[in-house]
């Protein structure tokens, strides 16, 4: 190549680049363009006849046992509502993506839901570590992030920082407080060991608990979801001579702790958070582990204490459970009604209440306001009322302490309500659940005009 042709080549490339760039729209800055952002009328995911929502759940992975059933319950309830004509004429389209309880996958799943599927809101995204990865994104994109399936306090304690996010279930801190107060009153001499998931689930629960019985804690151990060998942790608890172990963990780790304790011949009293204690599920996990050494089903968790806040499948006479059974019979796919599906339906009911309260003109800001304004008074299967307001986006305000006997939780105490920090714990003042409407829909809620 001689000098001339090199210069020519350079010149050609520059011209080509300039042309390419100009075609992108290069030019001076004029007034602000209107290309960005949704136009005022078009709310993403909403049409006159439908509303599209999304969620991320661990359909596979270490947290899948139990939790993977929640979306099927929610879907059954949404289908039921759709079969009755939807809410304000809109049918609910529900898209669920798997994140395997891995935070990195959650970011991808939510990206797809928000940017590709253009959902109106994320409803019931599950998991403390997983949802933590996407909560800031959802708030900065102003996507309603409703009724997160997790008890971390950060879904609702600071609405100024996370205006679009709402919790639903009782948070771990108040659960820890109520458990702590119960232990202080009924088991003041117990030596407490803590078995915690290494994230907000464990941290928030421990914080609440220690407010009351911090001086009784003799050992704290943590596990990482994904590493299924908890022998070192249980061995450490055993070595500390703890005779009451309080666990804030997911169901697989309940089963693992039980199994490992058997191996080590360690027999403390156990107290598990409600998210980890469904007897049927844990029992079936345990049963598989050994032929006959641990029997299947309900007796697996007898004597274990936990908490409850909505009626479960064993309360067959409860009017809400009757509704859920009807919904599952009509709309449910494979399998039977389990407590996780009931969780899904109860949560779905809250979302449908929010849709109802938002009125015909459905917008993202509108639904947030509807929950803040009216949520605390909504009726639902929750035994304790919601705390929704402008200052708090936290959900159910308390729990009931129970002991599992023959697979059913026997109440040990009246349902108690409280709030974060040093808010008092007091018995619920009677906004306990009322029966559902005839239709099974929250149609008594007045929609905004």
């Amino acid at each position: 190549m001689n000098r001339w042709s090199r210069k020519a080549a350079l010149a050609t490339s520059m011209v080509a680049s300039a042309v390419l760039v100009a075609s992108c729209g290069a030019g001076g800055r004029s007034e602000s363009s209107s290309s960005d952002g949704a136009a005022a009328e078009n709310v993403p995911g909403v049409t006159d006849t439908s509303v599209k929502i999304g969620a991320h759940f661990p359909l596979t992975g270490v947290a899948a046992p139990g939790y993977s059933e929640i979306p099927s319950g929610a879907k059954a309830y949404f289908d039921y509502v759709n079969s009755k004509g939807g809410i304000h004429g809109r049918k609910i389209e529900y898209i669920v993506k798997d994140d395997g309880y891995v935070p990195t996958n959650t970011t991808q799943a939510v990206n797809e839901l928000v940017q590709k599927e253009q959902v109106f809101a994320i409803v019931g995204g599950l998991g403390t570590p997983t949802h933590s990865a996407v909560v800031d994104f959802l708030n900065s994109e102003k996507v309603p992030d409703l009724f997160v399936s997790s008890g971390s306090i950060k879904w609702g304690d600071k609405p100024s920082e996370r205006p679009m996010t709402f919790g639903w279930q009782p948070d771990y801190e108040i659960e820890g407080k109520i458990i702590g107060k119960y232990i202080k009153e009924k088991m003041p001499n117990a030596k407490i060991g803590l078995y915690l998931q290494d994230d907000d689930l464990g941290a928030d629960g421990a914080k609440g608990l220690k407010q009351f019985v911090g001086d009784q804690v003799v050992k704290e151990v943590k596990y990482t979801p994904g590493n299924t060998d908890v022998a070192p942790q249980i061995a450490a608890l055993q070595a500390s001579k703890a005779d009451l172990v309080v666990g804030f963990n997911v169901p697989s780790y309940t089963a693992l702790s039980q199994l490992t304790a058997l191996k080590l011949n360690y027999k403390p009293k156990w107290f598990y958070t409600n998210v980890g204690s469904d007897p049927k599920l844990v029992g079936s996990l345990l049963a598989k582990f050994s032929k006959g050494a641990v029997k299947d089903g309900n007796s697996a968790l007898d004597g274990i204490m936990t908490t409850e806040y909505i009626p479960g499948v064993d309360s067959a006479d409860d009017p809400w459970v009757k509704l859920w059974t009807k919904v599952w019979d009509e709309q449910g796919k494979d399998g039977e009604l389990t407590n996780y599906r009931v969780y899904g339906m109860s949560q779905a009911y809250a979302f449908v209440s929010a849709l109802q309260a938002s009125g015909k003109n459905l917008t993202r800001e509108g639904i947030v306001k509807a929950i803040e304004d009216g949520g605390a008074k909504w009726k639902g299967p929750n035994k304790l009322p919601f705390r929704y307001s402008k200052d708090s986006h936290l959900g159910i305000s308390g729990v009931e302490v129970v002991e599992i006997k023959k697979g059913i939780g026997e109440p040990l105490q009246d349902p108690m309500v409280t709030d974060l920090g040093d808010a008092e714990i007091k018995p619920d003042s009677g906004t306990a659940e009322q029966a559902p409407n005839e239709s099974g829909l929250p149609d008594d809620i007045k929609g905004a005009e």
Binding site: C24, R29, Q115
Partner: protein
């Protein structure tokens, strides 16, 4: 003699610069015309390509197999996350990325010194252990690194200067995610420019000499250890930059992002494209970034659940890697090049290209004498 060499060298540099310019223009064009979702995917392709570029130089040119580049990406990502815990008062993004690269480089130097004495399966196993160890450390020191939950990354606002410049060029505002995507691609162009020049330089030639015949190279006076470490350090730096961009793009640095599968698929991408070829690394990364979504769509239309469909992607990548090694070890780019040069697609080693043909420099641009 000197004049001829100068012309060649000048020519290579010029060629690489031209390609870089055209690439930048192309990036602008493409980025503006796609949806935010695609922009995110393109950002992913860019940072995978940066890591893959470093890896292809290490494995293809210098002959050192590394299964642990996920670990260096993790180091880059966590450094970035730690520096970006608060949006206010954060350093400029480019400084943060450079710091992340620096930290990864330092670790890379340590690992490289150890690795320089190993070969074959030993270095593979050692880097495999590294890939598993680094996320474990992040999990253990959970108070610093956030444990399984990881650290959230607060992406800084688009700098005023860049915002204006991009507006000038494209006529639209730039969101932070878009800005990250642009940065990823511009960094990719810069990194590849540097790698291509490095590969065509004396150091590159020494690498290839060591790879092809240790004994001869050593007799020729080449310091095996030092050159190997340099290659390792360069590739670790690339992976560090890639990790920083990953943290910025996904706004998260968590152990789950750096599984063993990441390191293995990165290597697969490089092998598929052709060891030693930057173009191959780019193609392989494109596959890595775009295949999962495509596979999920195809799988769903075949009736598979979303979860199962997602497994089609690694299946395809794994199968293709195996087929490439068995049938066309030089990878896509390498085989095409061989076909064009009139030789058959089988070569003795994936890495060697064609032994004995001295001027064969598998880079983006080939120098002509």
């Amino acid at each position: 003699m000197r004049k001829a060499l100068d012309t060649v060298r000048g020519n290579v540099l010029l060629k690489h610069s031209l390609i870089a310019l055209l690439a930048a223009a192309l990036v602008l064009l493409v980025m503006e015309s796609v949806s935010p979702f695609r922009q995110g995917q393109l950002a992913m392709m860019a940072y995978y390509a940066i890591a893959a570029g470093g890896l292809t130089v290490l494995t293809g040119l210098s002959g050192q197999l590394s299964l642990g580049h996920g670990a260096f990406m993790a180091i880059g990502a966590y450094t970035t996350a730690l520096l970006l815990q608060e949006r206010e008062g954060a350093l400029p993004m480019i400084v943060i990325i450079l710091i992340a690269a620096l930290v990864a480089t330092v670790v890379g130097a340590i690992v490289g010194v150890a690795a320089a004495r190993l070969h074959g399966p030993y270095i593979a196993g050692a880097t495999l252990a590294l890939a598993v160890a680094v996320p474990g450390i992040a999990l253990h020191f959970s108070s610093v690194f956030g444990g399984e939950q990881g650290l959230n990354v607060k992406v800084p606002e688009v700098p005023r200067l860049a915002d204006d410049a991009l507006y000038f060029l494209t006529g639209t505002e730039t969101s932070t995610s878009e800005w990250v995507a642009y940065s990823a691609w511009f960094l990719l162009i810069i990194v590849y420019f540097l790698l291509a020049n490095l590969s065509a330089s004396r150091i590159g030639r020494r690498w290839r000499a060591v790879r092809d015949d240790e004994v001869a190279a050593s007799l020729a006076g080449i310091d095996l250890g030092r050159d190997r470490v340099v290659a390792f350090v360069v590739s670790a730096a690339c992976a560090g930059v890639a990790g920083a961009l990953l943290a910025l793009a996904s706004r998260l640095a968590a152990p789950g992002s750096f599984s063993l599968v990441l390191s293995l698929t990165l290597l697969s991408a490089v092998v598929l494209g052709g060891l030693g070829s930057l173009l191959g690394a780019l193609l392989g990364s494109g596959l890595l970034a775009l295949l999962p979504n495509l596979a999920t769509s195809i799988g769903s239309s075949m009736g598979l659940s979303d979860v199962k469909a997602a497994e089609l992607s690694p299946l395809v990548i794994g199968l293709t890697t195996m087929l490439v090694i068995l049938l066309a070890p030089a990878g896509v780019v390498g085989s095409v090049r061989q076909l064009l040069a009139g030789r058959g697609p089988r070569a003795t080693t994936a890495a060697a290209g064609t032994p004995g043909a001295g001027a064969d420099t598998p880079t983006v641009a080939e120098p002509r004498g």
